[in-house]
């Protein structure tokens, strides 16, 4: 057991830090709203910049054009990235963190040769098409169907909660290619070009604000996709989709964790400056605020420790369902923290802020225990796969 970065790792950190300091875009990332092409341009430009400097695909093997960084280097990269205030991968996220790695794991050489460079070079935006209106937590119950017609699939149905659908070039699309049979079989993983005729989008407003269109619902009406776009075996899409689960090996939360750690520090500083309810003493002299701030500070330190542990475990063996543990704890801790932020803010909390404020991140935190698998789903996973408790009575 040890936590001490090697000389090489420290050198890597210095390199990352100076490069980021010099290159992180100065301007704010455009607002993510309905069909905002600016955001695509912003994200792709930032991706190109990283590519040109050799940072693109930090976790991708170098034979696929990635940086091929070690897990610890990835940890360092994500830490420095967040601390430098670098913009989120945004519309490049699905390509870099899910579609790309899936293609690496299961794609044909042709699929890889075509798509991987485009993702890395910031030339193509990907989105995800997994969830459906009728299949949320029960993802495998999906019913979007694809019938084979010659050398094409003909897709009909609908996907939902698709981020960046309106600016994406491709979608990783799960659809049912064989009816009947068991729920998890008969699904295929398909590369769906978003400009194919028959695709329609409906932007979905979030609760965060009146212009916050984070997701789309995507409708498929006789959408013809070449059979060559199927990744992996046909009908084995469930396996393909799960091939990259845990691909991030515990590094996935680092940005959020650091952002929240910084938020705790900001709130503590704020509580030292602002007057409390009596208008005289500082807010931090109120034991209730003090107690919540102290616990949040400890919790965020705990999440960091847990992240290091996960990364160090993943370096030795395949990551298991332990990622669910981090998510479970972290999502609730960050919800508590962000609620604390608006409570400290008092009256001003009623004013919708920018993302750098406190109210908007607070509203956004409602998604923390829902997106990427609800806390209920995480608890099932932890209880059944880590603790070995029996599956619940399900029909």
């Amino acid at each position: 057991m040890q936590i001490e970065f090697t000389r090489q790792e420290q050198a890597f950190r210095s390199e990352v830090r100076s490069w980021l300091r010099a290159n992180v875009p100065a301007g704010e990332r455009p607002i993510h709203s309905d069909r905002n092409l600016d955001i695509r341009e912003f994200d792709l430009e930032w991706q190109r910049k990283q590519f040109d400097a050799g940072w693109a695909g930090i976790s991708w093997p170098s034979e696929y054009g990635g940086r091929g960084a070690s897990l610890i280097e990835q940890l360092i990269w994500h830490e420095e990235y967040a601390r430098a205030g670098a913009p989120r991968a945004g519309s490049c996220f699905v390509g870099l963190s899910h579609a790309g790695p899936t293609l690496i794991a299961r794609g044909t050489p042709e699929q890889q040769a075509f798509h991987l460079p485009r993702i890395l070079r910031g030339e193509a935006v990907w989105c995800q098409g997994f969830s459906e209106p009728g299949a949320g937590s029960d993802l495998a119950a999906l019913s979007t169907r694809a019938e084979i017609d010659g050398d094409h699939l003909v897709v009909n149905g609908s996907k939902i909660w698709t981020s960046y659908a309106s600016v994406a070039d491709y979608q990783e699309l799960l659809c049912r290619t064989e009816a009947g049979g068991r729920k998890h079989s008969g699904i295929s993983w398909v590369i769906c070009p978003m400009d194919t005729p028959g695709i329609e989008l409906r932007p979905i407003l979030t609760m965060v604000g009146p212009n916050d269109f984070h997701f789309c619902q995507v409708f498929y009406n006789d959408v013809r996709i070449p059979l060559a776009n199927v990744v992996g075996e046909i009908n084995d899409g469930w396996g393909v989709a799960n091939a990259t689960l845990g691909f991030e090996r515990g590094t996935g939360f680092i940005a959020d964790q650091i952002q929240n750690s910084e938020l705790v520090e900001r709130l503590i500083a704020m509580a030292r400056e602002r007057r409390g309810l009596d208008g005289l003493s500082a807010a931090i002299d109120d034991g209730d605020f003090a107690s919540r701030l102290a616990m949040s500070r400890a919790e965020m330190a705990g999440v960091r420790a847990m992240t290091y542990a996960t990364v160090s475990r993943a370096a030795n063996e395949n990551p298991g369902p332990e990622g669910s543990l981090v998510k479970l704890f972290f999502s609730e801790a960050s919800q508590r923290l962000r609620r604390l932020g608006v409570d400290l803010l008092g009256p001003e909390a009623l004013e919708l802020s920018s993302d750098a404020g406190l109210t908007t991140p607070y509203l956004r935190s409602y998604a923390a225990s829902i997106g990427g698998g609800t806390s209920d789903v995480q608890r099932n996973i932890v209880a059944e796969r880590v603790l070995g408790l029996p599956r619940g009575p399900r029909p």
Partner: protein, 345 residues
């Protein structure tokens, strides 16, 4: 006589309000439009006025309907359920302020519903005056604001506002502005000692309870029909147990609110105590139930397409009306608890 059940007459009042609201202010009004529209609830207030909502608790001699605070509380709960603009609550209170402060003409006008009063949420509750900074809620082009401080409640006219500045609202269905009231003691005011603040507090509690109950109803309804893993999600303990806890919380909130109102009506010595306890419990129920309702709906609950998020946002607005939970906790510890003697009322 201990009777906390609604009489058939009270049930009728509730039914008629509910039926009107179902007609004119259904949740569907919150479905987002391509071009967002400002809150239109106030346009329906004359209909509420016709039904007597705003003069419910004023004596018939003063032109009101002649019921007690209890009936007002019953109606405020329905306003909360339907997420009616809180100007409705401020208007109900404003009627009493105008009448008590000697402007029956204004009271009559407010009762009709054509002159909505905007709630003014104090940044800090001043001890003995009304001047200071406020948030004005849904008060665009309003004539009157209802200011509330430890000094009491007051109607502050448009002419006495300054530095009005519209700000982005946490609840995009409610226009929000910062405003400064300069008058230390507006003419139209009722001092705290007169106890009108308790009526105001309990109307806010009732609204918050309505929010908590509506959030529960929303969850239960969804849990019965939404299926995952081939069964209604309401069959899963994770969901069903959360719903049970929601009911426990909203029941406590409601019973505390109505108990406080009934205590006030019989001039119980612990009326302050009960009114403060009710606010803490109603506010807690609204916040928690609203958050859990979003969770129970999954991603759909996080959207702006369903009204679940509005329960959260209304909880924030109403929590601050008359002083938020942090403030109420201070007051709770300062309040005089029911004495052993007062048990015999």
């Amino acid at each position: 006589m201990i009777d906390m059940e609604m009489s058939s007459e009270q049930q009728q009042i509730v039914d008629s309000v509910r039926s009107l609201l179902t007609d004119v202010l259904p949740y569907e009004r919150f479905v987002p439009r391509p071009t967002p529209v400002p809150n239109q609830d106030r346009a329906q207030f004359p209909k509420l006025g016709e039904l007597g909502v705003f003069g419910l608790g004023l004596s018939e001699a003063d032109g009101g309907v002649g019921y007690s605070m209890v009936e007002e509380v019953l109606v405020a709960r329905e306003l909360g359920r339907f997420l009616v603009s809180p100007t409705a609550i401020a208007t109900m209170i404003g009627v009493h302020v105008a009448q008590a402060a000697g402007d029956p003409e204004l009271a009559r006008r407010l009762m009709q519903g054509g002159t909505p009063v905007a709630p003014a949420l104090a940044f800090n509750s001043a001890k003995n005056h009304f001047a200071g900074e406020y948030h004005l809620v849904d008060g665009d082009r309003a004539e009157w604001a209802l200011a509330w401080s430890e000094a009491g409640v007051a109607l502050v006219g448009f002419d006495d506002w300054s530095e009005l500045e519209a700000v982005p609202s946490i609840d995009s269905t409610l226009w929000l502005a910062r405003v400064r009231f300069n008058g230390l003691m507006p003419d139209l005011r009722v001092v705290a000692a007169k106890g009108l603040w308790r009526r105001a507090q309990l109307l806010v509690c009732a609204y918050l309870t309505g929010v908590a109950e509506a959030a529960l109803d929303d969850s239960v309804e969804y849990a019965k029909v939404r299926e995952q893993f081939q069964q209604p999600i309401g069959g899963f303990q994770a969901i069903k147990h959360r719903c049970a806890d929601m009911l426990a919380r909203s029941s406590v909130a409601w019973n505390s609110t109505i108990f406080a109102a009934l205590t006030d009506v019989v001039e119980g010595q612990d009326a302050d105590f009960q009114a403060i306890a009710a606010k803490l419990l109603a506010s807690d129920a609204a916040f928690r139930n609203a958050a859990i309702n979003i969770q129970n709906h999954g991603a759909y609950g996080f959207t702006g397409e369903h009204h679940a998020h509005l329960f959260v946002k209304r909880a924030h607005m109403l929590d601050r009306f008359g002083g938020d939970a942090t403030y109420q906790k201070q007051r709770m510890l300062g309040a005089k608890p029911p004495s052993q003697e007062s048990v015999s009322l």
